[in-house]
């Protein structure tokens, strides 16, 4: 297994699901999605989430008149602060 680059966690942190009631981890998401008919493993679940977050980030930035490259959108989408911000807004917090 490849080790996490030094300082990665300090710089980016991890988006945790611990504080969100009813939130699942990727393994559980993969299992539940497979049961729903969307067959996937835990890494696919993560990639699907990132792709969805990229679409959300793109829509948000376009509304502000900013257009970002896919690479930039990917960086925004994987940012735990962005993810928890979106989750908070959707949860009405």
């Amino acid at each position: 297994m490849c080790a996490m680059p030094r300082g990665h966690k300090v710089k980016n942190g991890y988006a945790s699901v611990a504080s969100l009631a009813g939130a699942d981890d990727y393994k559980l998401i993969a299992k539940k999605c497979t049961e729903m008919g969307h067959k996937m493993g835990h890494s696919t679940a993560r990639n699907v989430l990132l792709s969805a977050m990229m679409k959300v980030a793109d829509a948000l930035h376009r509304s502000q008149g900013n257009i970002y490259t896919n690479r930039q959108l990917f960086e925004i989408a994987r940012n735990p602060t962005f993810q928890s911000g979106v989750a908070d807004i959707l949860n009405g917090n």
């Binding site: 969100l20 009631a21 939130a23 699942d24 969805a52 679409k55 959300v56 959707l90 949860n91």
Partner: protein, 224 residues
Amino acid sequence: MNVKSKLRSHEILTREQEVEYAKKIEAGDRRARDKMIHANMRLAASIAKKYAGKGVDFDDLMQESTIGLMKAVDRFDWRKGFKFSTYAYWWILQTVKQYVESNKGPISLPANASSRLYHASKVREDFEKEFGAAPTETELAELLGTTSNTLRSLRKSAAFCVSLDSQVRPGEDRRSYKDSLTDTSLTPEEALEAAQTKKLINDALSNLSAREQAVLRLRFGIEL
């Protein structure tokens, strides 16, 4: 006759009189017991006065110190050769202290809870002196041989409560605690911005595939 003059109306006993009364009390003389209690009421009052203004009523303190005095009278052993006041002082002090500790907050704490809290603050001080940093909740609980949950509930129960309507500085300032609270609700502009952001996100979500929506919903624990 006011309380002060009532207290002064009872003469202080000499050592010989104390021994004489103690012997009578041992023999079951109720009058001697009353006399001994009355003669030492000034001592009880002086101890109660020390604890006045600590969040409990003075009349209650006086009552508690009298209870302490009565305990001392019942347990005094004249054969040991001490003056009664030396012996009674500690009984009165203990009773009063225990009462103040248990009743100074809105929640009455058992005596052992107060002493545990006191012990916790001592341990914390010692830890800070030794390591130059405050112990974490878990470390402190471990040092005290308890759980952090218990420690937290103890602290919560002993917390000092203030009415939001009471004045911050009575007499000087008319402002109440309620006036100094920060309004954390959103301004109309912020609320509008939040609503717009939510609408934007919802629009973006509606364009996602069923698979993406399912993953997002499960990941964030939301209903889409």
